[in-house]
Amino acid sequence: MPAILKRTAVLWALVLAACTIQLVPSYDQALVEGLDQANTQALTLFASVESGSPASEFGDYDDRYATLIGTFDALRQRAANRQIPPLAARLSKVRIVRDFCNSESDPAGCVNVSPASLDRVLQVLRRMRDRHRSNGLAEDTVGLFRTDYNTAIAQALTVENALKR
């Protein structure tokens, strides 16, 4: 091997060895614990109305909806406002990533997904509350809200727990 190639290889090895990278945000224990607690409260609410609930009973649940929506909104804010690693922010601007992840409208779309998942959680809880208040909840409607919720919260929980390196 020519000497220049050897020196180049050694130089690259040194650069590689000297650099660690961060492509996604750091683990946030308070966020994970908050999600666990709020999830338990939400599942308890779903269980309370799983056989259906008329609009006349909405007053019994009003405070629980407000608490849950407020809690999840605070967690969504916390996730949305955390620091995105500089390298991840730069990668989000690469064309293929930008196109797939819709990075122009949501710059952190693929490197900080939980705010989007929690946004869907909030949409479900708000629509369920409004429907409960105006029409009451049929049994199958509760099931539909719950499955929608389960899919979205599972995304946030999986991603946030995975961030624990």
Binding site: T20, I21, V24, R120, Q123, R127, A138, T141
Partner: protein
């Protein structure tokens, strides 16, 4: 420590991180696939014979939810993949730096000039 040992340790570190990352992503895809399939099935059933039969507004809400959840699942897979790449890179860099550190220490470079972990973080 020779270069063969360093390469062997790097390969082991890479294999470990990639294997763990693949397992996490595979489990996530399987569980999300089941949830999305149940979501679609429940919407279809309710539209045929349930409370969504005459409720176009709520039907549309749940269809939008199906699409949003599917898109967020795809983005979550990208994020979990990025995490796997990050961990694999750092594991390899850690092993390589450890090897170089050992060689340089053996060559008489003072330990104070050689930090335990790779000195650059980007």
């Amino acid at each position: 420590m020779d270069h063969q040992q360093i390469f062997s340790d790097m390969a082991a570190a890479l294999k470990g991180e990639l294997g763990e990352g693949y397992s996490t992503i595979r489990n996530f895809v399987e569980s999300q696939g089941k949830l999305l399939a149940k979501q679609a099935e429940d919407i279809a059933k309710s539209r045929l014979n349930g409370s969504l039969k005459d409720d176009d507004e709520l039907f549309q809400f749940f269809l939008d939810g199906l699409q949003t959840n599917a898109e967020n699942m795809a983005k979550s897979i990208v994020m979990l993949s990025a995490l796997t790449i990050e961990k694999a890179w750092n594991a390899v860099a850690g092993v390589l730096w450890g090897g170089i550190r050992t060689i340089l220490s053996g060559a008489g470079v003072p330990a104070g000039l050689l930090p335990q972990t790779p000195p650059l973080h980007v």
